[in-house]
Symmetry: C2
Subunit: 593 residues, 2 copies
Amino acid sequence: MTESYPYTQRVAALRDEMIKANLDAYLLPTSDAFQSEYLPPESRHMEWLCGFSGENGMVVVTRDKAATFVDGRFTVQISKQAPADIFQYCHINDYPPARWICETLGADCRVGIDGYLHSAGWVDQARATLAEDGIELIDHQDNLVNRIWKDRPDGSGQPIILLETAGQSSIDKRLQIAEILKQRRCDALLITHPECSNWLLNIRGRDIPCTPVVMSYALLWQDGAVDFFVDTSKLPEGFGYHVGEGVNVYGLEQVEDVLTGLSGKTVHLDRSETPSRLLQRVVESGASLKEGKDPCLLAKARKNPVELEGFRRAHIRDGIAMCQFLAWLESEIAAGNAHDEATLADKVEALREDQALYIEPSFETISSFGPNAAMCHYNHKYNTPRAMGLDGVYLLDSGGQYLDGTTDVTRTIKVGEVTEEFKKMCTLVLKGHIGLASCRFPAKTTGLQLDMSARLPLWMEGYDYDHGTGHGVGHCLGVHEFPGRFSNRVSSEPLEAGMVITIEPGYYRADQWGVRHENQYEVVAVDCGGDREMLGLRHMTFVPFDTRLLDRSLLTESEINWLNDYHQQVYQNMTDALNDQNRFWLKQACQAI
Amino acid sequence: MTESYPYTQRVAALRDEMIKANLDAYLLPTSDAFQSEYLPPESRHMEWLCGFSGENGMVVVTRDKAATFVDGRFTVQISKQAPADIFQYCHINDYPPARWICETLGADCRVGIDGYLHSAGWVDQARATLAEDGIELIDHQDNLVNRIWKDRPDGSGQPIILLETAGQSSIDKRLQIAEILKQRRCDALLITHPECSNWLLNIRGRDIPCTPVVMSYALLWQDGAVDFFVDTSKLPEGFGYHVGEGVNVYGLEQVEDVLTGLSGKTVHLDRSETPSRLLQRVVESGASLKEGKDPCLLAKARKNPVELEGFRRAHIRDGIAMCQFLAWLESEIAAGNAHDEATLADKVEALREDQALYIEPSFETISSFGPNAAMCHYNHKYNTPRAMGLDGVYLLDSGGQYLDGTTDVTRTIKVGEVTEEFKKMCTLVLKGHIGLASCRFPAKTTGLQLDMSARLPLWMEGYDYDHGTGHGVGHCLGVHEFPGRFSNRVSSEPLEAGMVITIEPGYYRADQWGVRHENQYEVVAVDCGGDREMLGLRHMTFVPFDTRLLDRSLLTESEINWLNDYHQQVYQNMTDALNDQNRFWLKQACQAI
């Protein structure tokens, strides 16, 4: 049972603020004002209030009740983190917050939110649902938790990084997007996602974990000028020269004022991404809206040659760290030194830190033995880390942010005895990986169309996995990037040359073990000799797969050739950078099967 | 140059009627009041007015101009059929009728249509486009062409067929759909597609070519009762007993009156399928609309065991006719008897006619030699049929409507010498067919997800085809049935056990030759031994593929096994029904490769 203190006091203090603000309930999400995937400490309002530190949830506090809402990935975690005597637990899809509020409160009640923490799209929908029961949703101007969170951390205060590896000047990028604005007859584009504004200005930052961005908004005008909203204390020397002409810097707190002055303009924005408060200000200004995806998203997903070259170099260095880790792990097993999931995660991170241009992990490392590997979203930090020696396999899913690229790689590694059944499943998953990696496909093909090629070997035997097959990867930006992906869910954005995407099929045997094989690929034009222009995938990752876990008899000749060819490339690219002991390990690991 | 007479006179007569009706233009589509894929003679208004007999087009006549609008499939055909000195030709997508009208007429003009011939969805859109230029779209109550088309044929007058092979009583079907209406809180369902009302009442008809339905509308009530609108002279003896209780028959002309009386009811209908006139009457009645796909569509696509067994038997008989044809063709070639595309199409139809329960062809036969086979929508009726002897291959895409099922099969047949390049492409297409036919996949998988498996062998060599991979097939109903299909276009309806779908990948070398290999499959549950419930495909078609056109070295062992196993099944199922000569041919054709 989670200790209720200090949460009892915090909820009581929040209720006092609710009374002062004439609110009957207050709703908080796990989100910040920038829709960040990974939250900085000062934006962990929900965690501060109820203890939950996961990535997707909401908490609602009324005058006498409270409830948390998370999806199936986090049911175990929330039971350990949020005290059940204060917070009723609800499944966010089966019993969403708006329904809970309608069933808990009566008509004429007032529910407060912080309009920065929700997209306008979400607020529209929640407001409509609550209105059906006569309940009002109110964007209360101050975040009530900020008033009572006495030791709330300050922001990072870290200066902006001027990125030298972008391959295209900020002015070029701004004119390129401005051209799209002209075509769409818009005066300005409201950019609320820091990854887009950071891409546009060729800058990065250290404000949140795992994604090297500076929190900021931007308003790009049809002539390529930008109003840039950021904590101005983070501006480094040379910023103006670096970003080029036409960048007007404002404090973050000025964004609402500037938006209120957009009267008569047509503003391009995405309701499903824009914080409700900011959309509200644009609407109040009298500006016309042109709704649609931020065109920066597609432009930044199409990597330029310099970015792609950076990616490839980053993967060489990342591969060295991974090979060092795998060689070390094997020697530790041989020496009988037992480590746990936490020390292994720390070790691989430490080895990446030794590599040039490394910034930070690109996501929270999944370091999992045996049954823990059967949970796709396992995090040893919320459990007692499992020790080596009990299981046959170890699954490591990790990656790094480098100034010249971003990596994400998963290997399933033999650390004990495994069954023939395990080998079979491990081999089927690899067959799927190879199947998709080998595909050639015409322009306009979507990841939804290709997804099945990674699942088919499992399907033929009656198995599947319940996650996507791969995601786009940003260039020294978010490791999960729209729109490139391989997924069995509807996705209408075609793959294009220059996109960087992972392939990561898996299979999970609950309470026993999990398998996942992940490499990163770039989409490239290939000449197949036919009458169509075709695309294909070229791997960026250089880390051996553990061939000891495979059943060779289940592989076709062309799959064996693919694997042997891959390992030959890994050996050639890694061997010179490793010391003798590691090189010896690499030679074994890359042997043809 | 097409002869202008009699079209000059017809257009002049139409203009006289336009003046009487105070209309500045009149617009006609290739469509009837039931959105039929194949039109009966009395509904060929556009053909009567301008000569065009293709499947998708529109014609607009103003006081002094006229234009036709068709898509790329029909550009050659319209140039041969519609006299260019009267009708300007426009591409229906690049220069659609509404834009042509706006550019041709001024504000305050009035454009007439027959509101039965257009879906309400189309009218909404066209009306909005024209309104932007101040032009009014008017559903003129009488079809103006009917007034001047003196020798317009009567309807078929053919009696309704009482279908004994439906496998589920009409009352059962009506209660099943009524249950859906209850869940959706609707009082009634407006069924405007004859395939749905014919399915619901277990009846068929002979009103249009290729699809054995009686033209009719129906209004299904929440208690399972039906108001059925049909030419009552077509009712056969025993109709009431056959359809069971609760079927109230009205004349077709009464439908508008009945709909006008729906005040206070909630009516389920599909705006994109319902004739504009009928939707208008429902709206005028004051009824509430519940818009969505007709639930009969999905129910009839999931075939019951009796329908599936009927399908299988129909395919055995259809296979016999096809084997007789292929054996005859080979002997004619050996004898040096040259036939043309028309006589071959007639021959295969005549052989089908000899089979029990045969009704009619299920679509217009594609009978094409050499370069004509490179045109997917080729029809020898609109060309000089090409004769045998000039080409290496003959492509035959044909099928039959039987009282117990519907067939659709394509074979590419050697009739002369072919190149190695042809064999390669022919083999790649078959590899794709086998790849998709062999797939196993979990529930909720869509045809969009599976489509690539039929294209991948072509993709790997840089080729593709520009049509869908397969379509659903109705049970003694339309050969193109929603929602089952394999397609690279967005499709979110999952495949379900009991659906019947074709697989028909192809490859087309313009001006030289075409390849297509088509079988029909049923979606079946398969036990793969894993931990998921899986579906697969079981072939219904029993016709040999021409193995002389294949390059065996391009096939994998499992593909060769699939083909040899298929031919063994064809031989076993066909051999007893054939005479000695045909059996000898079959044995050769089914030999293992």
